[in-house]
Amino acid sequence: MTLLAASKVSLSFAGVRALVNIDLQIEEGELLGIIGPNGSGKSTLFNVLSGIYRVDQGTIVFRGERIERFGIAQIVRRGIARTFQNKRLFGTMSVLENVEVAAMKGVQGSALGDVFGLNSSLQARKKAGAIAERCLVLTGLADSTGLLARDLPYGAQNRLEIARALALEPTLLLLDEPAAGLNPSERAELQELIRRVHAEGLTIALVEHDVRMVTGLCARAIVLDHGEKIADGASAMVVRNPRVQAAYFGEVESEEEAHAA
Amino acid sequence: MKMRKLIGAITVAGSVAMAVSAQAQDIKLGVVAGMSGPGTSYGIGIRQGAEMAVREINAAGGIKGRKISLVVVDDASNPAQSVTAMQRLVNDQVDLVVGGWGSSQVLANMEVAERAGLPYIVVGATNPKITTEKNKWTFRVIFTDSVQAEQIADAAVRRLGMKRIAVIHDANDYGVGNRDIFVASLKKIGLDPVAVVPYQSADKDFTAQLSRIREANPDGLAIFGTIPAAPAIMNQARDLGIKARFIGTGGLANENLMTLAPKASEGTVLTTYFHEDVDPQARAWADRYVKEFSGGSQPPRPVLAAWEYRAVKFIAVPCIESSGTDKEKLRQCIGRWKGTLFSVPGDAYFDKTGQLVQQSVLVEVGKGAFQAFKGK
């Protein structure tokens, strides 16, 4: 069954076309890879799906509901969670608190009720704590809960991003270049983590620069170039597509671009 | 621990303040006024008047052998700090307070004096509400807005023959208080002001207000405000071609008026709190005062200094001499006081609200100085 369907999605910034007539289906339970060279629109696509950008044209339907006009928080509440490529953690908060914030989504009650109600505050934190705990264990961060997020090693920050997104208990998880900047062993760990999360039944879309990682993890992949979808199909087949080869390997990857927003 | 340290620090500071002024035999005279902030020049005048009086009395042997020690507290011309300042005088166990500048500050700090049962002679605030029968510990020596505004209204019509009077006033308590009484007094005489416009104390450009006044074509313009707004209004009024003669009350009674509006202020008629040419004693005192205090960071400002000086020397000191420092007796003595003061024509006495009843002084600006008014 189709979980999310985007059709004819277009977006441009000051005349520059960032997304051009994108059609995209994400099936329930799948792990979809999204690849493409730098500046091809991968992150922009995620920003549109998560409500950070509003589309100029096109529709996005998630579980039977039009969401293309929704705000960020509304979309999260519908069940789409995401991570950020350039790590957007709450730096001055502890690892546990980072995940707790997200876990609060699933906890009843209002902010003011917490303050003036007698025990609900403690209970809300407790409930959220339990959810957070589970996500931290899953991502292997259970030992560093007390650290400030900004004091975590880089690789662990990556996993914290994922833990935080998981605490939202989403239906669809968007992972934005989670492997960027990781060394090979961290990469392997990450791959294992994604597989485990996927095995629990979560639908995942993975934007990734590393083609091998995508072919290793994802059955299906789409390829973007200059804001257009140029291929869609079995990941092993897609990467062999000559258009993809040209778009993808025709240019030199520089370290700087890989980190650019 | 942080908190304990802090309390320690505060306590130490408090006791130091106590120790400095703790000489049991001395009579303690409290002075509160704004010696920083907008009232600086008036507050310093008040302090100087007190210093001068106290120095003279102590040089002459004090009061029955007891010296007077001054406790001067700056209230930064700020009502909130004024409360703290008065609290500090209460805490330092002063025997009475003579001072206070600015109606807002005095209205705020007199509540503290009233609650503490401390005699307070107000020198530099004119709001009528300061002296009421309810406030039994508060006295005032300078005239209220009501007396001044009434007198100038009367003088404007009867002595200056004005027919079309416009009013421009500061929106603060001084200006509003004056305006209300002035307009009411005019009405009693049978005249309505042709325009009444307020401004804010901090305003610099008055063309908007003055344009409205010019439309009304007045022959007299009452300005109820203080320096620097008042001279700015005069200058700009002349620039705009308003030819009306200016009148005003004590807010204009400041030598800076002539410095800041040398041409425009000529001919202004106003009530004032003090003028050195009323009698020879006043002249002698003023000369002594100017000599003693010129060369400081502030130019000598005799008006309020004279009131502080006279209130201390001629009212407070004789009362302490006759009634001692018991606060209730002191209060009653001040309330009964009747006598003469230099620069005040005739006798002066306190009415039952604690207001000193007296004749005021009318002056005119001429040749860059205040001259005794010689009109009809």
């Binding site: 950070i52 969670a81 957007r88 609060m104 989504k105 | 304990r4 507290v73 009502p79 209460v90 308590d173």
Partner: protein
């Protein structure tokens, strides 16, 4: 050291010192202590905004004034009992803050500062000029003291206990706010607003709630102030106290309620220490602000904490 404030004897000693103060210290010191206790309310309230949403407000002095004027006018003009006006004062302050600043608080940080300057000036000008309602520059006089049954809190010593209880309640409620999900949300959005909304934090609502809470604290502080000083004037609620409250909340160090309270105590008593400076007092005050920000941008108290070995929470 780091756990000092978690030991019972620390609290017991602090409490004992605070309770004994009016009996041991001279009245003048009690008077200053009362101002400190009163000011902790608007300062801690402001902390919800500055520390926890990264939003600087220069309108806290005005909101403090709204609380003070509400109770002053209700008691003097309508004859209400002071105690009965606490809730209306707080509500009035919240309503005004949210109606004037509710839209602005959603703006990016610097734009919010700009808006609060407008709010500050507007409130002050209205207090000054709406004479029929507020008495304008005459101020409001003869505000009754708070009475508890037969007992009326007139002297600084009597008032002290009310101020202490109020500051205590404010402290514990503030701790609760910060420990609650709202505190978590506010810290999250001050670290990264976009990330906060992508984890389902209703950013706008959280900010308006923070504004409302900070106004509530200011309103309650204003209530106390009016019944302690018993005379209020628009100039007591101009830009100057707004700057002072802001500085108090920033000098205490980022996100530390205890720090804000200590900073309030230090800065308010500094006004007294600086009194001997006379004409130079304001220069000294300006220098404290300037040098404090130049050399301890995360708050003067972070210095103490850093030396104590506890991690100083700060924003990069």
């Amino acid at each position: 050291m780091a756990a000092l404030h978690q030991r019972w004897w620390f609290w017991a000693a602090t409490l004992a010192a605070l309770l004994a103060l009016p009996a041991l210290a001279p009245q003048y010191v009690v008077h200053i202590a009362n101002f400190i206790l009163i000011y902790t309310l608007p300062v801690v309230g402001l902390g919800f905004l500055t520390g926890f949403t990264g939003r600087v407000s220069l309108a806290q002095g005005a909101l403090f004034g709204v609380g003070a004027y509400t109770t002053a006018l209700l008691t003097t003009k309508l004859g209400w009992a002071p105690v009965a006006t606490l809730v209306p004062s707080v509500l009035m302050t919240i309503v005004l803050a949210v109606s004037l600043g509710g839209a602005a608080v959603r703006l990016a940080g610097l734009y919010f500062v700009m808006a609060t300057i407008g709010i500050q000036q507007i409130v002050w000008l209205v207090l000054m000029n709406w004479i029929e309602l507020t008495n304008g520059p005459q101020g409001v006089r003869s505000i009754p003291a708070v009475g508890l049954g037969e007992y009326s809190l007139e002297t600084p010593q009597q008032f002290y206990f009310l101020a202490l209880v109020a500051a205590g309640i404010s402290y514990f409620l503030a701790k609760r706010v910060i420990g609650s999900r709202l505190g978590l949300f506010l810290r999250a959005l001050s670290d990264d607003q976009l990330a906060a909304s992508s984890v389902a934090v209703e950013v706008g609502r959280a900010k308006v709630t923070a504004l409302a809470l900070s106004a509530a604290w200011a309103g309650a502080g204003g209530f106390l102030y009016a019944h302690y000083v018993r005379f209020i004037h628009p100039d007591m609620f101009g830009l100057e106290p707004s700057v002072l409250f802001l500085v108090m909340s920033m000098f205490g160090g980022y996100r530390s309620i205890e720090g804000m309270i200590v900073a309030t105590a230090l800065l308010e008593s500094a006004t007294e220490y600086l009194r001997p400076f006379g004409e130079f007092r304001m220069i000294a005050y300006g220098m404290i602000l300037l040098l404090g920000m130049m050399f301890f941008p995360m708050g003067i108290l972070t210095l103490v904490r850093r030396r104590a070995g506890a991690p100083a929470a700060g924003k990069d």
